[in-house]
Amino acid sequence: MYLILSSIFFPILAGLFLLIRYRTPLPGEKRAIDRKALTTLTGIFLLITAALVAAALLHAKESFTLFYLTKTLPIYFRIDSVGRLFSMLAVIVLPCAGFFSFEYMKHEERESRYYGFYLLAFGVLNALCSAGNLITFYLFFELLTMTSMPLVLHSCSREAVMAGLKYLFYSLCGAYAALFGIYFLYQNCDSLAFTADGALRASSIAEHGGFLLVTAFVMLLGFGVKAGMFPMHAWLPTAHPVAPAPASAVLSAVIVKAGVLAIIRVLGMFGRDFLRGTWVQSVWISLTLVTVFMGSLLAYREPVLKKRLAYSTVSQLSYILFGLAVMQETAFTGALCHVLAHGFIKSSLFLCAGAIIYKTGKTRVEELRGIGKEMPLTMWCFTIASLGLIGIPPTGGFVSKWYLALGSLKSGMPVFDVLGPVILLVSALLTAGYLLPPVIHGFFPGADYDYGRLQKKEPCRLMTVPIFILTTASVFIGLFPDCVSGIIAAAFTGR
């Protein structure tokens, strides 16, 4: 209990401390910020938090109720396998991106605010992973939006503020749609505690099953907003380019996954058996497939690197959602694998893009000619991550996509069982199409390239090491998928 609570509240309190202690002086105020102390402190906080989370992951088994909002609404925590999996992702990505940002944020103002909210978001994410019922989850889901918004609009330029607001309103819109469903779930379930095999009362299903399907669909759509599902994906490509690169990495790798986590929870609450074969499943699968294809296509046409990666996120997240929508164990395994794989890969890619921007200021793909010669380590990581995302063995992407396709074919759904894998393949091709050109141009700038201008621009270790760790993690998942298969199997049954 105390481990879980401290893993939640320690970063939150630490974040608040940073926000207050190191608040940016206004013009005319005679107070300077000791940057070194700030970053050191943040680093220590991040490490402590990571340690706490790791300890909680290893040891915490019990569930507990913190307090009651109303008589029937407990704030309840429990770590189960799904939460554990997502915690694992967060605990690796967030510190990495955090350390990366110590270097990256040098050229931004108001760092303390960034670090403060970063830690807040970390704490909220931990809470989200260990939430044991829908209300607790919803509470932290909203808070996640609130705490991550300042990260998005950090630069405070006009576009950034607009993008931040867009992110905020899209997320809230989704959250409220989900809340609509929660109201009905509350009335039709005995409790809102998470389960994997349906909490609806049989009598309720018999009485208003039709309406409950609508409710389920609304909830899926609502949480799907966070996961960038078509038609509410538009905030992603707006928010990512303006956010600082490490923030984009975290956003894309972990925070949007909160939407996925939410959908897993919702599926569990309604029960796969209740939804399988209904119109909800068909519509939902169609939406994910549309998103997969459309995201790739848009990424393919996008010239700005970070925006391209953002569209890629849209597409890849729907791989995961597709896996969930199939409602079959193998596909579920694929989906959860992809959660990890995509998390590592995409954060690594974003950090690479950040490193490039930080060092060269180049944002567009066609400007990246010869970059591989200048920043070899960064670009190698970029290459490996790209291959992973395309799904080339032995990287993490391959394993997950394999399971996804397999599960889809096994599922025995009409039409979609084949259509799904086909679209996944086409999208993989497109992925190759949008990720490999920067690699190729980066390493092989062509004969007419002026090699004389090349300089060594490799960033410092604070940047390269996190990128390297994340890339390694992505490969590791691909090489040893077995190390997570146990946890995923447990997740499927809701343990």
């Binding site: 109303t70 509470l139 006009r158 503020v161 931040g164 607001l165 905020l168 409220y176 309406f211």
Partner: protein, 487 residues
Amino acid sequence: MIVSVILIPFITGILVPVIPFRKRWQKEVFLETAVVLNSILVWYLLLHHSDSTFLLAHFTGNLNISFRVDGMSMVFAGLVSALWPFATLYAFEYMTKEENENVFFLFYTLTYGVTLGIALAANLLTMYFFYELLTLVTVPLVMHTLTREAVLASRKYLYYSLGGAAFAFLGLIMVIVYGSTTDFILGGVLDPAKTAGKNNVLLLIYVMAFLGFGVKAAVCPFNSWLPQAGVAPTPVTALLHAVAVVKSGAFAIIRLTYYSFGTDFLQGTWAQDVVMAVVMFTIVYGCSRAVKETHLKRRLAYSTISNLSYILFGAVIMTPLGLVGALTHLVFHAIMKISSFFCAGAVMHQTDRHYVHELNGLGYKMPRVFGIFTISALALMGVPGLAGFISKWNLAGAAVESGNPLAWGGIACLLVSALLTAVYMLTIVVRAFFPGKDFDYSTVSDIRDPNWKMLLPLFVFTVCIVLFGVYSQPIVDFFMSVAAGAV
């Protein structure tokens, strides 16, 4: 005893212009003491109430002016008397910049008494009487600045309110004629023997009376007086147009629905559908107007319109749980909205800025005010852990439980409105704290947080918002027992 709590504000109010105070602080002390004493008295009365009815005067026949404390009156009177001392404290500071203080405080204090009269009324006629009186004593407050704008606003306010009362009056007549008594009895007083065969007429009159009282509760299409009345000094807009006056409208509707016509009679009829549709429309309409509005106080006023209809939505679900939802929001919204209004007032008082786009960067210079504003904004949106979530949860829960498909649609309205609330409240917060890269901080250099008289009420309200958000059990239990008629 029960009359004295109504009379003390009257006497105090009338004494304000009469006593020749030498210094301003003497007047402040006098007023504050009287108000606090009265509030204490009210609370004493509520906690030690007996079931007896106090008869003050006789009109015609069995119509009389009488008072009684029951569950509903405990909620409303308790709320009003808890908020009034703070609002008065705040008004002292705010009114330093305005003229004609004495007249202001005269009517301000009178309103306290009249509002308590509405809360403590034992029958429909008494409530109607104080309801009309409330209109009359608040008009001078709206008119206070005597600018052309204020006069127009007060005229509109007067027409709307009196007109509304005229139709509410029809409901009163129905209860007099078809009811066994005009006293408030949970479950309604209509006499089935008399109403047989006249249901449709009664329902039509109910709808009219609903809209009539609804004028004060700013139900669409009778809401336009409220944003206009925002020309009044902020303590007035905050307390009256977020709490006392508009809540009286909601209170009256609850009385009419649950205690006079009776939910058994109304539930499942076309009248319920009509009023619910109106309320749902208002919820969304108020919010969307708030999004469009750029004047800070008017924006909050539109927000009030929408939130009042939350309360009414709970009321027209016409189940005990609906009443619980309505009461929860009645109380919680009062605290949240008064908090945000006082923040707006503090900004206007300190900086003389009235429009949303002028608030850029103020968050750094007035961190306390805007911090509090942020919390009230989050609460209004319904973020869990703050008071607004609880009330919304109760409302939606009641709607789901009622099994009425229209009420389910109402939930969707609530959520759309929550989203719009986020839009209009958070844009202010973002402006204040993230003014943009090229913002010139020198334009806000000499601005600072207001003094303790303004901040104290704000802090208290914020603590309440958080407290009720995380620990609402006792108060919701109390509402439950009110709705069950156990108090």
